[in-house]
Symmetry: C2
Subunit: 141 residues, 2 copies
């Protein structure tokens, strides 16, 4: 089970953004330099964050991105959902009655993985961008 870079970078970039967007929009170039993330990759990520209304974009010189919501209302779940970082512990299709083995009932561990998925998602639902900001106050410029 591992977290992918896409999810990790998305959160990292948003924390950075949240720290600096008080006055001006923040350019991806700045985030790229500060956090050591490829600019081209960041653009892919922010395209999705924008589609999901987590950030707003401002084009042109001095442009950049700004949060579209209160940091308290941006949960990790929202971020992960936006960049398609999904938690998948079962192999079967959840809606179907069929199991992962092609049989007509769910496998003997299905419930376990379902529990696990809920357990992990709970973590993401309870963490907001605000929580992460408080954690890093001392680093604020």
């Amino acid at each position: 089970m591992k977290l992918t870079s896409k999810g990790r970078y998305a959160v990292m970039a948003l924390v950075d953004l949240a720290r600096f967007d008080n006055i001006n929009p923040v350019s991806l170039r700045d985030i790229s330099l500060r956090q050591g993330i490829s600019l081209d990759y960041l653009e892919q990520i922010f395209s999705k964050l924008k589609k999901n209304e987590i950030v707003k974009s401002i084009r042109g010189t001095q442009g950049g991105y700004v949060l579209n919501k209160n940091p308290n209302d941006i949960k990790l779940t929202n971020i992960f959902h936006a960049v398609d970082e999904k938690v998948k512990t079962v192999q079967c299709k959840k809606e179907s009655k069929k199991g992962c083995n092609g049989k007509s009932t769910k496998c003997i561990t299905h419930n376990l993985w379902d529990e696990l998925e809920i357990h992990i998602n709970t973590f993401f639902e309870n963490k907001s961008l605000k929580d992460l900001l408080n954690n890093n106050k001392e680093k604020r410029v």
Copy 2:
């Protein structure tokens, strides 16, 4: 974040094994048929489970595998560790002082991922094979 087949199959196979090993050793062929898992793949998995002393093997005709411990003492952690299904949420090396971005300090989200890792591992530490057996009693033959 997804669970790999190796980990999922390992647990699935052990639950199956635990249910049937009361009297005789259970052959991988039986597990393969009952659970719909490739026999060759199971062999790889059980080789690791054996090395980690979770199961014992009995060779020859009528041979098979038997649990090497009480189901209550086999936690998911042990199983996952045995088959190298590890939870990895950070990108950096934990021991190092360096961050995932090549910089000299940990990145701004490092602590978050660390928390997440602990959160997930806690789930695995608290679940034993015994718990899974009880859950499936009604299916016992």
